[in-house]
């Protein structure tokens, strides 16, 4: 009978290995069974993982849990192929080969090669980001299939009910099945278009993970790491390692490197000027720099390029006071030309404040076209409250802080604004 400490270790290992490998296994099986059999692939991986838990708890961990999982999955795949090949078609390009015992096993073994597994994840990413699948569906599907999150985890991440995620996944799977004939990395002109879509989905997923609305900082770090992993896969493939891909990865690295200092020990939000910069992940910043250099080719500057450059300016500064706001303002001007959205202009105003003071920033904010669209955005009111209190307009400052209070989603945000409100009332 295994003791509890041992059992905990087994469970922990299972959780870690499962999270790391299940996305790869689902990708490989979807490649083998064909996109129309996505559910079959997901179920098969689920079976294998359950079997692993049972087996490892009873017999202890194998020497190489990862290899164990791959062998079990491969065996499960050949069972499924043998049982279903008369009634069922699998991936079109290998279907005939899976039909014959002469070729089935070797064909399957080829699919489990390291390079194939890597490419299958890319193919899966493109399939999940098919334009026919809604944005929310794409994100849910990526998290479920490629990141190995459970429905409950995804629901917690997006602060919605599990049933809502189930519904999103259901619709997304239908579109996935109907619109992906084969699992592939698109070629030619289709590649650029589809890659844009994939990058945008990763970017939005990251923003979601990065947002302070996030209650659960553990999941947040995990999701950020997932985004980095997915984007890294794209930079490792010759067809998809384009400047914008590297720029996005740099951006993800710079933001993630600073995650640890965003909340203090009490779990309270920290403004960048008070963050402990020694907590920043230097290695990740280095990785970001490496990719930023690789992004600096070609003729097009994407939003990722500019946002990465801004994030890098923050990472580079030894202290808040040493931040190069002039460069940051320059980058915001570039970004404004590319996408003059109220949010970009609001962020630009913060750079203006650092250079020319709060009144100049307030004037800038007043000039933002469509600023009314942000009336329900808690950060707008938090910023206005700050600027107004710095220019001595106490009454208006308090009224904006109170608005921000009503709109903040997470308790950390509310606590943060309450603090500001108290200061303003003093």
């Amino acid at each position: 009978m295994p003791n509890t400490a041992h059992n905990d270790h087994v469970l922990q290992t299972i959780a870690t290995v499962t999270r790391a490998e299940s996305g790869k296994l689902v990708s490989v099986l979807t490649r083998i069974f064909g996109p129309h059999n996505l559910v079959m692939a997901e179920d098969a991986v689920q079976d294998v993982l359950l079997k692993a838990i049972e087996n490892w708890q009873e017999h202890g961990l194998p020497d190489n849990p990862r290899a164990w999982l791959y062998r079990a999955t491969r065996n499960r795949a050949i069972d499924i192929v043998r049982k279903n090949r008369r009634q069922q078609t699998f991936a079109t390009d290998i279907n005939t080969l899976l039909d014959s015992e002469y070729t089935a096993a070797t064909t399957l073994n080829d699919c489990f090669r390291e390079t194939e597994i890597r490419d299958d994840q890319l193919r899966m990413m493109f399939a999940c980001c098919h334009p026919s699948i809604g944005r929310e569906g794409q994100i849910a599907l990526i998290l479920k299939t490629l990141s190995g999150l459970t429905v409950a985890q995804i629901a917690r991440a997006f602060i919605v009910k599990p049933e809502a995620i189930e519904k999103r996944l259901y619709r997304a799977r239908l579109a996935f099945r109907d619109n992906n004939a084969t699992l592939e990395i698109p070629g030619g002109t289709a590649l650029l278009q589809r890659l844009d879509n994939v990058l945008e989905t990763i970017y939005l997923l990251f923003n979601e993970a990065h947002s302070t609305s996030y209650q659960d900082s553990l999941t947040r770090d995990d999701l950020a790491q997932d985004c980095i992993r997915l984007c890294s896969l794209l930079t490792e493939h010759v067809a998809t390692s384009l400047p914008q891909t590297n720029a996005l990865l740099a951006l993800l690295c710079f933001h993630t490197a600073r995650l640890a200092s965003r909340v203090d020990k009490q779990g309270d939000l920290q403004l960048m000027q008070y963050q402990d910069r020694s907590l920043w992940d230097r290695e990740l910043i280095e990785k970001g720099v490496w990719h930023l250099e690789r992004a600096a080719t070609g003729e097009n500057i994407s939003r990722y390029h500019i946002e990465a450059a801004i994030a890098y300016e923050h990472c580079k500064a030894a202290s808040y006071e040493e931040t190069d706001w002039r460069s940051i303002l320059y980058y915001y001007d570039l970004l404004t030309r590319l996408m003059p959205t109220p949010v970009v202009l609001l962020n630009r105003a913060i750079a203006v404040k650092e250079l020319e003071g709060p009144q100049a920033a307030l004037d800038e904010i007043k000039k933002i076209p469509g600023i009314d669209f942000l009336q329900n955005y808690y950060l707008l009111h938090a910023i206005l409250g700050e600027l107004l209190s710095q220019t001595g307009k106490k009454e208006s400052a308090i009224s904006h802080y109170e608005k921000a209070m009503q709109m903040a989603v997470s308790s950390a945000e509310r606590k943060f604004i309450q603090q500001k409100l108290n200061d303003a009332k003093k």
Partner: protein, 146 residues
């Protein structure tokens, strides 16, 4: 052969769907072709003397050969067979194999498309059965029209 995937693939992404496109074109070419059965025979009990490495090398040869035929859209089906079997010389007279060591036994078959005997024979020339000193018998499938 299932071609539904090909048509779906074409709608979205014809260029990058090279493999199934090629198979499809080749399949179309086979419409007026005949079917041929390739029967493989070799000495019974040969598998037993193989090392695992030789086994996997052998499987690899079969996969490459059949994979090549499949790529031309000419592979219809086929399976390897176990060395043992039963022989019925009448409804009541049944002999249990294993057959005597060294006796030639049928150990697999393939059904392929080919324009004529020449092509069916030329497809068979690269068959890995020759590595085992086995034989291939090529027969055209008879059409039993009335």
């Amino acid at each position: 052969m299932d071609l539904s995937g090909y048509w779906k693939g074409e709608r979205h992404n014809r260029k990058s769907n090279k493999n199934s496109f090629k198979t499809f074109i080749n399949f179309k070419k086979t419409r007026n072709m005949k079917e041929y059965l390739l029967v493989f025979r070799s000495a019974a009990g040969d598998d037993a003397v193989r090392t695992p490495e030789e086994m996997s090398k052998n499987m690899e040869s079969w996969k490459n050969w059949i994979g090549g035929i499949a790529q031309q859209g000419k592979f219809i089906g086929g399976q390897p067979l176990m060395a043992e079997g039963r022989v019925l010389s009448s409804a009541s007279h049944i002999t249990d194999a294993p057959f005597a060591e060294g006796k030639e036994v049928v150990n697999g078959y393939l059904l392929v498309n080919a324009a004529n005997y020449d092509e069916a024979v030329s497809l068979s020339k690269a068959c890995p059965i020759f590595e085992d000193k086995g034989t291939v018998e090529v027969c055209e499938v008879a059409k039993m029209d009335m």
